[in-house]
């Protein structure tokens, strides 16, 4: 019973900041509210017994990416505070598209009929993940590693170039 | 010598274009002489053709109605379950196309002489000119629908550039309009061509495999070489908007060729094209390209769908009559001489529609004669309009008066050709109109009042010609710009060289029209009787 209440709380925590992002014109506030919504999400992951995922979410998303964005924001703003205010544009068109998409995908989802077979997990999920990393997903693991290397080197090179 | 004469006539100018291609650009005079030589040779060949044409031939069916026939396999593809696609280079003439070829070669020669003092990139001009002459003569001689269509489209290209580059101030608009207008027309013809192709099989070639060999040959189409269940096979029950599919095909052809003719609702490209085209090109445009439309009616629309033609004589005659009266009235409203002549051509072309619709020998003979005589008269009229334009750069009727004082010889020719065009008997204009009226009033398909209303056409044409004559040529000598008064010198040698043969021809054809109608009479009679017999046959099916 508590779980469902917790789920509702956490969904509220994710949805509220998103709605705020939609409304606000201020970029800084949007970035921070994004961080909050990531918190809500990690809470949900916990409820779905994916503790590893929750931690990863918190660590990388809330910690890394948001910080990166703030940095990016700060560097690209010329004058204090004015630069953060943006305007909305083709409001009607964007909302129309997203709303239509929402409607049709929702209709789609309801018609697809999920069959949920509930299976209990055995053992510690994190160990299992670690095992899986090095067994089934070994190729993906190596590729991602390599990709991260390239990305970071590229990013730093680009940033450096803009540095001089 | 006479077996490959037709191919020679058609492709000789093409050979000469190859020669001109290698000449350096600045040798203007040499190029002009070569072009003159080419068209002269072409004229001589067509004169030989005229005299070696056997007028006494009494054909029974279309297959042996044509002379100087040359046939060679051009394209034959195997299209799987659609059987064989057979297109061949099939060329031949009968009386109707003989006259058209002689007219076109003569006017092409006149065109070259008319464009003698041209100085803007002469080489390009004459290459396009000779390509045009090939395609025009080819069009008249083609007996394969595909070949006819190729020449028909091929004619548009040089014409587009000739008007587009060497034309008057608004040439861009005029040439594009001309090109697209006629292109749309030819789409209709293309549709019918494909329909016919799918429903006609060439029995002589089916022997190869068991599949059907479809062919484009007009002779098969005319002689009824249809496969049993083809789309356009006579007696089909396929309906399209409530009309028999063959009638729809006939109407499509009518619209396609009516644009070319031009008939009234679709004629607005002609005045623009004429006003903007240089003199020589508007002579060709009026002399030849309008006749392709008329020839198309004779050979294709009436030849292949006589049953539809018989039933639709009434509306066609109405359109012809409207063209005559409407064309005449709009000609009266023009204040540019060339535009007035263009609209008078629309009115004269209405006679052809009327002549054909009367579906009897006089009507068809009159329509054919009108095509030939209009070719000469309108050619001369455009040269005359060109004379004024060369001297002053302006053709407004209201801008001149009393030209007779300044240019008496020029006025003499203008009077001759104006009276020829308004149908004064004794000149060739009258004969065509007289025969068409004879046909229209005597035909048992048309009510009398159509003929009577179109006779009012000759009064209207008299009105606008004499009005223009009086405003421009009689009265005190005055020109809008003072500077023009010095440049109004009388006709030069070259212009006389053009106008005298045309004047002689116009008088000769007026006094003795049998010179050209005599040899052609058998084929006209055969054309009308065959159409009638075929139509009864098809209707019976």
């Amino acid at each position: 019973m508590i779980a469902s209440i917790l789920t509702y709380i956490f969904t509220a925590i994710t949805i509220a900041p998103i709605v705020y992002i939609l409304i606000t014109k201020n970029v800084i506030r949007a970035v921070f509210s994004l961080a909050f919504s990531f918190l809500g999400l990690s809470g949900l992951y916990v409820l779905m017994n994916a503790e590893f995922m929750a931690v990863v979410q918190l660590l990388i998303y809330a910690g890394g990416i948001i910080v990166l964005m703030v940095f990016g924001l700060m560097l690209t703003k010329t004058t204090l505070n004015k630069g953060f205010i943006t305007q909305h544009r083709s409001l009607f068109f964007g909302s129309l598209v997203s709303f239509l998409l929402f409607i049709s995908l929702a209709a789609l989802a309801t018609r697809s009929g999920f069959k949920v077979g509930f299976t209990e997990h055995a053992g510690d999920p994190v160990a299992q993940i670690g095992q899986l990393f090095l067994t089934d997903f070994i190729i993906a693991f190596e590729v991602v590693a390599f990709l991260l290397l390239v990305a970071l080197v590229g990013a730093s090179y680009l940033a450096k170039k803009s540095g001089e | 010598m006479t077996d490959s004469l037709l191919t020679l006539i058609i492709f000789f100018p093409l050979l000469v274009t190859v020669v001109i291609l290698f000449l350096p650009k600045d040798k203007d005079l040499l190029i002009k002489e070569i072009a003159l030589g080419a068209t002269a040779v072409q004229l001589i060949l067509s004169v030989i053709l005229f005299f070696s044409y056997d007028a006494a031939l009494q054909p029974e069916s279309w297959s042996n109605a044509f002379q100087f026939v040359e046939r060679a396999k051009w394209i034959s593809l195997y299209l799987g379950d659609y059987g064989w696609l057979q297109i061949d280079y099939f060329v031949g003439i009968d009386g109707i196309s003989l006259l058209m070829i002689c007219l076109s070669t003569f006017l092409l020669l006149v065109g070259v002489v008319a464009s003698w003092n041209l100085n803007k990139n002469v080489k390009g001009y004459f290459i396009l000119y000779l390509i045009l002459s090939t395609s025009v003569v080819g069009c008249f001689a083609a007996l394969d629908f595909f070949l006819f269509y190729v020449f028909f489209e091929f004619m548009l290209l040089p014409m587009f550039f000739l008007i587009g580059i060497w034309g008057g101030p608004r040439r861009g608009y005029a040439s594009i309009k001309f090109f697209i207008y006629t292109l749309v027309g030819s789409l209709f013809i293309l549709a019918v061509m494909i329909g016919l192709y799918l429903s006609v099989e060439d029995s002589s070639l089916t022997g190869q495999g068991q599949e059907v060999v479809h062919s484009f040959s007009l002779v098969n189409m005319m002689d009824g070489g249809y496969i049993t269940d083809g789309i356009l096979t006579p007696g089909t029950s396929i309906e399209f908007w409530g009309m028999n599919i063959r009638w729809v095909a006939f109407l499509l052809l009518m619209v396609g060729f009516a644009i070319k003719l031009p008939a009234v609702p679709v004629h607005t490209w002609l005045p623009d094209a004429h006003v903007e085209a240089p003199t020589a090109i508007s002579v060709l445009l009026a002399g030849l390209l309008l006749k392709i439309g008329g020839y198309g009616f004779f050979r294709i629309a009436y030849g292949i769908f006589p049953d539809a033609a018989v039933n639709l004589t009434y509306p066609i005659a109405i359109f012809g009559m409207i063209s005559i009266v409407y064309g005449g009235l709009t000609a009266m409203a023009q204040n540019d001489l060339k535009r007035m002549i263009a609209y008078s051509s629309v009115s004269h072309m209405g006679f052809i529609l009327l002549g054909l619709a009367s579906f009897n020998v006089q009507g068809a003979g009159g329509a054919l004669f009108q095509m030939v005589s209009h070719g000469f008269i309108s050619g001369a009229l455009f040269i005359l309009a060109g004379v004024i334009y060369d001297r002053t750069g302006d053709r407004g009727i209201a801008n001149f008066s009393g030209l007779a004082k300044a240019m008496p010889v020029f006025t003499g020719f203008v009077v001759i050709f104006f009276f020829a065009s308004l149908g004064l008997p004794g000149l060739s204009g009258f004969v065509g109109e007289f025969l068409v009226f004879l046909g229209a009033l005597g035909s048992d398909y048309l009510p009398k009042w159509i003929g009577i209303v179109s006779i009012s056409g000759i009064v209207i044409s008299a009105a606008y010609y004499l009005w223009a004559l009086q405003r421009m040529f009689f009265g005190k000598f005055w020109t809008r710009e003072k500077v023009w008064e010095q440049t109004m010198y009388d006709l030069t040698g070259r212009e006389l060289l053009l106008l005298i043969p045309l004047a002689i021809l116009v008088v000769l054809l007026g006094v003795a029209p049998n010179i050209i109608l005599g040899p052609v009479n058998n084929s006209i009679e055969f054309f009308v009787n065959q159409c009638f017999a075929q139509s009864q046959l098809y209707i019976a099916q």
Partner: protein, 641 residues
């Protein structure tokens, strides 16, 4: 004789040669071309003398249509008449046109006219007749508009041709009807086969003939034709061209059915009367003669209608002489007035008077021809007019329709009156001119004398009273056999003489030199009261043409009520119909039909612009469209398949 038989077609080509020769060297052109015409005259005299049976020459012009000439007695005699009058007119115009710069063109045109007129008379097939009919129309257009510098003259020429053209359209319709209904297409066959034509074809021919011979609805053009030089008016619009209509009707009268003949009779009578009334109050010397020609033509047509076509041919013959004489005399008067001072209008009778002593020969010629016109006995006019009057009287008795004879007799009186008035006004009264010029002997006097003498009676028949005594009668109509045994009725005889004498008397009483009418004639203006106005404006026939044109353009244009000013600005005869209506159609053609084409072009441009808006550079919009298409695909596969 056989030589004549072979080369007789040459006869109508001769004037063309003389015209061309004349045209080339313009100085002595008139003298040169006289030889050509003289040769033609000689040739025709021989022909008339030797001819016994009709000669026919025919060749195939078109399929089923042949082109042919033929000479029989009637047209041989008329050809002789044409050549004679042309010779006289050419001799006259040597002096008349001596100071005119381009005489060459004048001779060429005269030659061309003579060629087409003789061609018309000699043509046997109807198509040939129509061909020369139009050529005659064209040559009259060229001759009326000879002095083309003056816009008014060339406009008159154009209007004359247009009105002729309308009548010729009907003639063409008639000719085509003849071909289509299978009637006989040549005069020789008509004479022999004689199967009756249907009413409509007959009517078309009648309208054609009425147009050329300036009968009731169409006579407006003849007064306009006076714009041509006077010798031309004498030749064409008195003696030769206008009689073509009469000739045609005489030729086809055997095949016309009953009501057609009645139409001819009534048409002729009405025209004769109207023209005579119109001639009463004219000021222009040539206009009076023009109206009198119309009225005499009315007589001839009337003669054919009532069946007395021998009398009408006889009248045609005599009328040619005295009317040509009158015109040439008027020409010499105009020439004299022109020499005097060319500022004043040389043709206006108001500044003439008392020319009797100054131009004696002209006066006597004018007097004799005038009296011949008025129909006094001992003159040719009387004989032929008598024949027509008796014919109409007999016809009146037989058909009970007395309108025609009554009109004929009134016209006889009126003719006498207006010719008397003209003679008195021009030649008698106070002569304000002193300087006496002697007309050059040969060129002016000889033709006048010849014409005056020829209008005496003995040229035509021994007995001055009996209309049947015409020498040519037996020659012309021997083979046809005189139709009705005509005898001159005493009553008609006395009636006609009485009427002409009365006419002359009244004219003398009103316009005698000392009468107050002649005194203030010098400065009299247009008649005020209605009858005078009707007569002066020639029954408003020209105004009537303009009204038809007006009405027609209103009906056809159908554009609301045209205000008077707009119409008046455009009123110049035939042009009005075309201009007003054509402008509307011209505009329509430009904007609607052409506009449609441009509209199609602009639609494609519109669609083009709309589609490009999708590919806008903004990234977000592109993302949006991307998702939208994704959505559409989704829906398509999910819901619709």
């Amino acid at each position: 004789m056989t030589l004549i038989k072979t080369i007789w077609p040459l006869i109508f080509i001769l004037p063309l040669f003389s015209g061309i020769i004349g045209g080339l060297n313009s100085k002595q052109s008139l003298k040169l071309s006289n030889f050509g015409i003289g040769a033609g005259l000689l040739f025709s005299i021989i022909l008339v003398w030797l001819l016994d049976e009709p000669l026919i020459l025919e060749w195939k012009w078109l399929e089923g249509v042949s082109f042919g000439f033929s000479i029989d007695r009637l047209n041989a005699m008329l050809v002789l008449l044409v050549y004679l009058i042309t010779l006289l007119v050419q001799v006259f115009s040597i002096t008349y046109m001596e100071h005119d710069p381009d005489q060459g063109r004048y001779t060429a045109k005269l030659g061309f006219f003579a060629f087409s007129m003789v061609g018309l008379l000699m043509s046997n097939q109807l198509v040939t007749l129509f061909l020369f009919w139009e050529l005659v129309g064209m040559s009259s257009y060229l001759l009326i508009g000879f002095w083309y510098q003056e816009a008014a003259r060339s406009k008159a020429a154009r209007q004359a041709f247009m009105i002729n053209r309308v009548a010729d359209a009907f003639l063409l319709l008639g000719v085509i009807q003849v071909f289509n209904n299978g009637y006989a297409t040549s005069f020789t066959e008509i004479l022999s086969s004689g199967n009756q034509w249907d009413g409509f074809t007959g009517l078309c021919f009648i309208i054609g003939a009425f147009g050329k011979s300036a009968q009731f609805p169409f006579y407006g053009w003849l007064t306009k034709a006076m714009a041509g030089p006077t010798p031309v008016s004498a030749l064409i619009h008195a003696a030769t061209m206008v009689t073509a209509g009469v000739y045609l009707l005489v030729r086809i009268s055997p095949v016309l059915i009953e009501w057609n003949l009645q139409v001819i009779a009534i048409g002729g009578a009405v025209t004769a009367f109207m023209a005579a009334v119109a001639a009463l109050t004219q000021f222009d010397i040539k206009k009076v003669l023009a109206y009198s020609t119309i009225s005499q033509l009315g007589y001839m047509i009337l003669g054919i209608g009532v069946g007395a076509y021998q009398a009408s041919v006889f009248h045609l013959w005599t009328h040619a002489f005295f009317k040509a004489g009158l015109f040439l005399a008027a020409g010499s008067v105009i020439h004299y007035m022109h020499e005097l001072d060319s500022s004043k209008d040389a043709q206006d009778m108001r500044n003439m008077g008392g020319l009797q002593k100054i131009l004696p020969v002209t006066f006597y010629a004018f007097l004799i021809c005038g009296l011949a016109l008025s129909g006094l006995p001992f003159l040719s006019g009387f004989l032929s007019k008598e024949g027509i009057l008796t014919g109409s009287w007999l016809w009146g008795q037989s058909t009970g329709n007395y309108l025609v004879p009554v009109l004929a007799f009134c016209t006889a009186g009126l003719t006498a009156f207006y010719i008397g008035r003209q003679i008195l006004l021009v030649f008698f009264g106070s002569s304000s001119f002193t300087q006496k010029i002697i007309e050059p002997m040969l060129t002016i006097r000889v033709p006048l004398i010849f014409l005056a003498v020829s209008s005496l009676w003995f040229w035509n028949s021994l007995n001055p009273i009996n209309p049947l005594g015409w020498f040519w009668n037996s020659y012309l109509f021997a083979d046809l056999g005189a139709t009705s045994a005509q005898h001159s009725i005493l009553g008609v005889l006395i009636g006609s003489i009485g009427l002409s004498l009365a006419g002359l008397g009244v004219a003398y009483w009103l316009y005698r030199p000392e009468a107050e009418l002649t005194q203030n004639f010098k400065n009299s203006k247009e008649p005020a009261q209605l009858v005078g106005k009707i007569s002066f404006h020639g029954w408003y026939i020209e105004k009537f043409y303009d009204q038809i044109v007006l009405l027609f353009s209103k009906i056809v244009a159908g554009a609301g009520w045209f205000d008077k000013k707009v119409i008046d600005r455009f009123v110049d005869g035939m042009g009005v119909t075309g201009v007003v209506m054509a402008k509307v159609i011209g505009w329509f053609d430009q904007n609607i039909v052409d506009g449609l084409v441009n509209f199609m072009a602009s639609i494609s441009q519109l669609i083009g612009r709309f589609v490009t808006s999708f590919q806008s550079p903004k990234i977000q919009i592109q993302i949006g469209w991307l998702l939208l298409t994704l959505l559409v695909l989704l829906l398509w596969f999910q819901f619709l398949t």
